[in-house]
């Protein structure tokens, strides 16, 4: 067995792990976060929300199915560093076109393997997400630590412009076009427009810098804000855009970062979670139906909104519609007009899944209904769609 080069990893608080180089050699910094999904590493790696984050995989074996051409969620790997315990030596899947190690090297992503990822995860759980550095060139942890402490913090970071599309583009509707959606790309995953398009939506994906006029120019039936990296509190332009759209009466749907910005637009604050939610096994209750869905999460920040009462805003009555059963974190917001009609909603988690369970796919239908104005008529059925076939 050829021994790989050694690598070290140093956390902001000085804790050091030694392992072997995995992926590209070099040095990298970012916010250390752990993801508990057992499948879907390819989707995770290519999810723009992980920009500037060093992702620790709690599943020990990573890379078993290699990398294929169908599963990426964007055109590149976004994580700034990758921490695994036992990387696969061979890919095994009929769809695989290259190995994970090769893909990381090709894209210059520095990783480390062979570390006690569970010890690292427990450390992050107890002490919270923090900055980290991985290096295959530095051998002195103290010197690496100094550089970790100089690296950028996630809190206060506005990263949308780094991940957004430069040019707007259109994902055509599959079958008959029923709706036009203006989707602001704050780090959008490929599966989101795909799921919209499957429901007859023509999706105009616009850069994060799009203005209200640019949004209205596509004559949308609804506005969508995607997931994405960074601190929602550091974002103002898109919040103002959203407020403008709400005033204009445009139905809105947001996912993840789009939920946080919706919260801010409605006047709620946001805060950083100690160590975030990153996994594909999180129980969320849809408080409008009482049903529990198992969902994909990837968020380090959350909306601070009251769980027990609704809040009157200039746009209508805002309510927490979804909540994480593990820790009562706000997982969804909805806005109703004076007649109690739903006008806008958003979720903190990922109904587009990829990776993750498909339990929340109904939210895309809800968006279609919202734009179609026929929500009330369908809502009775929607609450039981899960049960058809029984």
């Amino acid at each position: 067995m050829a021994l790989p080069a050694p690598a070290i990893m140093v956390l902001e608080d000085g804790r050091t792990f030694r392992g072997e180089s995995f992926g590209a050699e070099g040095e990298t910094f970012g916010e250390a976060v752990f993801s508990t999904g057992m499948s879907g590493y390819q989707e995770t790696l290519t999810d723009p929300s992980y920009h500037r984050q060093v992702v620790v995989m709690t599943a020990p074996h990573v890379g078993n199915t290699g990398m294929n051409d169908e599963d990426p969620e964007s055109s590149r790997i976004w994580v700034s560093g990758y921490v695994v315990r036992d990387p696969s030596r061979v890919p095994s899947s009929w769809r695989s076109v290259r190995g994970l190690d090769e893909a990381l090297r090709d894209q210059g992503v520095v990783g480390i393997s062979g570390v006690d990822t569970r010890a690292l995860t427990r450390h992050l759980r107890e002490r919270g997400a923090m900055r980290v550095g991985i290096s295959t060139t530095e051998t002195d942890p103290e010197r690496l630590l100094a550089r970790v402490r100089e690296s950028g913090e996630m809190e206060g970071a506005n990263l949308s412009e780094a991940v957004t599309t430069r040019e707007s583009y259109v994902v055509p509707a599959q079958g008959e076009r029923r709706f036009t959606v203006a989707a602001i790309d704050l780090g959008i995953k490929a599966n989101t427009p795909r799921m919209m398009s499957e429901r007859g939506m023509e999706v105009h994906v616009l850069p994060a810098t799009a203005s209200l006029d640019e949004v209205l120019a596509v004559e949308p039936d609804g506005l969508f804000f995607s997931n994405g990296p960074g601190d929602p509190a550091a974002t103002t332009a898109q919040v103002e855009l959203l407020q403008g759209a709400l005033r204009a009466g445009l139905p809105y749907f947001g996912i993840c970062f789009g939920n946080q910005l919706f919260g801010r637009a409605l006047g709620f604050g946001t805060y950083k979670l100690k160590y975030g939610h990153r996994g594909i096994n999180q129980p969320v209750m849809d408080r409008t139906t009482g049903k529990v869905e198992v969902t994909a999460h990837n968020h380090g920040f959350a909306v601070d909104a009251p769980l027990e009462s609704s809040t009157t805003t200039e746009f209508g009555e805002a309510t927490v519609s979804h909540v994480c059963l593990n820790d009562d974190v706000v997982e969804g917001l909805e806005l109703r007009d004076a007649d109690g009609r739903l006008t806008s909603f958003s979720v903190q988690y990922h109904p587009e899944a990829a990776a993750g369970p498909h339990d929340a796919a109904y939210l895309f239908d809800r968006f279609a209904d919202l734009m179609g104005g026929g929500l009330e008529a369908r809502s009775a059925r929607t609450s039981t769609t899960g049960k058809t076939g029984a």
């Binding site: 067995m1 709690t58 599943a59 061979v90 769809r95 996994g279 594909i280 076939g389 029984a390």
Partner: protein, 1111 residues
Amino acid sequence: MPKRTDIQSVLVIGSGPIIIGQACEFDYSGTQACRVLREEGLRVILVNSNPATIMTDPEFADATYVEPITPEYVEKVIAHERPDALLATLGGQTALNCAMALDRAGVLEKYGVELIGASIEAIERGENRQQFKKIVEQLGGESARSTICHSMDDLLAAADDLGYPMVVRPSFTMGGTGSGIAYDEADLRRIGGAGLAASPTTEVLLEESILGWKEYELEVMRDRMDNSVIVCSIENLDPMGVHTGDSITVAPAMTLTDREYQKMRDLAIGIIRAVGVDTGGCNIQYAVNPADGRLIVIEMNPRVSRSSALASKATGFPIAKIAAKVAIGYTLDEIRNDITQETPASFEPTLDYVVVKVPRFAFEKFPEADPTLTTHMKSVGEAMAIGRNFTEALQKALRSLESKHAPFDWHKEFVELDKDALLAEVATPHDGRLKKVMDAIRAGATPEEIHDATKIDPWFVDQLALINEVAVELIDAVELTPGLLRTAKRHGFSDEQIGKIRGLSADVVRGVRHALGIRPVYKTVDTCAAEFAAQTPYHYSSYDEETEVQPRAEGKEAVIILGSGPNRIGQGIEFDYSCVHASLALAEAGYETIMVNCNPETVSTDYDTSDRLYFEPLTLEDVLEIVHAEQLAGPVAGVVCQLGGQTPLGLAQGLADAGVPIVGTTPESIHLAEERGAFGRVLADAGLPAPKHGTATSYPQAQRIAHEIGYPVLVRPSYVLGGRGMEIVYDDGALEAYLEKYVANGLINERQPVLVDRFLDDAVEIDVDALFDGEELFLGGVMEHIEEAGIHSGDSSCALPPITLGREEVERIRRSTEAIARGLGVRGLLNIQFALASDVLYVLEANPRASRTVPFVSKATATPLAKAAARVMLGESIAELRTAGVLPAEGDGGHLPDGSPIAVKEAVMPFDRFKTADGRTVDALLGPEMRSTGEVMGFDSVFGTAFAKAQAAAYGSLPLSGRVFVSVANRDKRHMIFPVKQIADMGFEILATAGTAEVLRRNGVEATVVRKHSEGEGPDGEPTIVGRIWAREVDLVINTPHGSTSGGSPRADGYDIRTAAVSTDIPCITTIQGLGAAVQGLEAMRRGQIGVRSLQDWAALGAAAREGRDG
């Protein structure tokens, strides 16, 4: 939505005796269910015929019926108890089938009992292949192309359509009974014909072969609000073609992308919903074509299954417990996750470790059986291991099997390995294939060659190659460096494996390792990959960085209990029972209890049975490391080795040598009992007779002894359990063959000589379980075997209290038992086998440990023997336990009050599971080597009724009328006459072969002569007896073997008769004593009404009787 308020009492049906395909995982699930339902304030009524289960302990239910699980008996229970609901999804296929039968018979409707968990319709939709296939199709899924057949013509017609090879699956059988792969028409006729016979609906499914595809399982839970979660994904290392129970399986799935996994998940949730399992768990199996990913749904079990037990242990998500809660109305989000205590059960466990399960087989017990693995389950047990990576988990699992042939071994010289031969060998799945795969890799086979031969996924093949690379490094290294040692440990190599490779003893490797500070750490199974803190110390070892063992609470002392490892014939659930009881008793006595075991089917490996659980192999290395870790955590009073059978007993000396305190009987005393010479001196000192005997390590020595004491002799290797290798030998030729065989396979050597005993023909065998504290003896129970000496005690039926022994004989037994206990220095349990011949009480053997019969005795006498034993081992006296109320204030099991019920234990044999290479069932003969997998108890006020119940529980009821075939050996002819006459007087038609018929006629019993098998059909096509049995024209077979038994070759006639009876499910009595008992049973049944009574009611009657006696 909270608990339903309209259910006050629930009837739970267990799974009956342990059989292949249905083992103690259902004790685990049933025990959890009973516990949960009682916690919820419901009245729990339980029916289970298996006395070795924890669930049948009286404290686990309000009314415990140790009665046969047949519709007739369960109806009696329902009539008496009038439960509101019936929960049948936790007792395996047995419980499910019983519930279906009760429903069909209108019993549930008659008594207004609601079936909860899964409705009849859901069970039918899940199990009926046509309906199920339609459901899968409607969900957009695919099933294998198939055809349902109800006759041989259907089968042959379908074959033209589907093409060979094809899979044959009978409907409504458990553990894949009767299924197989047909490569040609002859196979189809044989397997399909048997399948039609095995299916209660005469239904067989033929389907396209998906041999070699990847195989997966998902465990799903659903509540009545339609919330569904996937508890666990399991991937089989052995591709399609091997029954999942016989496959090496891995959790979580290792080679699926998220897309493919989510497709399976969507289908699973769609299926559980469409089938309509509204409240509970089910298991769904899939196959994936490795070439293009085509996904096929194979089948579902609309109930808790063996895989559910594995999934529960693998994830920490207690499926049975939660299934019981959702069955009574809770929703998943209302149920707390016990492990985190802060999150709900409506989530999906995520693992940061790898779990590997490996099957354990018993082909050595059935040398005639074909060891090829097929879709028909043949394994008798399994071991599970957890590691931080696959290589670690796999190697731990292999050593957990406790077979020296199981772990990989690089000892073999390279030149011995013939790559092509090995590749040919691994193309057919069989026990031990993986080791051959490793040899092939070592012989230079490329990953492609391995995959082509075995269809094992390339990822797994690479993992095996990785293990081999580490081994080669160990072989080649000039020096065993710390880095190399650490790498080897990280990939699961044991000290023993490393030692073998480096030419060192395991002790030396351990010494080096400890000197370098290379020790395992202990991680926690927490359901959430460390996202939340775990409150439950459920640990596994890994060579990683950080340990999670917490310091012990101030003032607490720990006791480590070693479990019994994978189930095998001779060591099964009975030992787990004792370990669990010890844990409960010691927790009550104020100790912190720590369980070590590697069997996922058991109650002992439930995370809430003991204060701490280590899911680890039971080897000296692994146990020493646990002891070390726990000693760092706080004081350890000692290790209990006496309760888990031979496995922990075998570790006692090594642990003691390493300075670990052993509680209870010392290793020296254990050795005293095992070593023949030393034991002989103990007997001589006490003035007790033993059959003449000697020990030998070679044929000439053995022959000399045999001639001295006279044939027949009983021969067996020392230090074995379950009569492994035990045979009765009638002449020199057989003796020589015996020694040749066992010296060659290493069971007999200088350290483990063969024991040669005089065989006591016509003796009554007696089994005793007793407790000794150094001063006082507590006789737990005296069991009288129904079969004559020479049949292994585990396979023999027995009665307690003894039915033909007088008070004087029991007193002799008591005196002898006490003398042996004192002589050996027993502290705790002791099991002795006696033989009473010509009024001499011979001591056959003594085992200073918990025996297989401890749970039976405990239940029959309402005394918690194992609990008492655990406390005696830690220093309490029997007198103190009497005062504390653990043991009765006075008297013991040797002296039961008048009017005590009679308990009959009957063994359940697995003959129908094993076929010879040419497709015939193996011989159904009892002998000195134990071959039963399980047991049942019949309990009633008189022997005949108790025996009839035991028969009904084990094999289905004895017939009340019809034809009885009799053919007995010459030596049995005299004893046969009276019972056969009684049977004839009851109105049965007697069939007999010419010789037997003549004897019967002379004694006034009319018998119809039938042709022997060897005579062939008559000139006018008159059938032979074997033909008539196959034609189901016979209702009871009485056939005793002639001459020698399992060691020699039984007469061909007998073999064909018995296998025909076993194959057609016709009761078959093979001993003359069994015949006598059966007659009593038949009489009891014919007298009419056999009632049912709960253990609690029996105990109340007993208490009343004692008061009456005192008053």
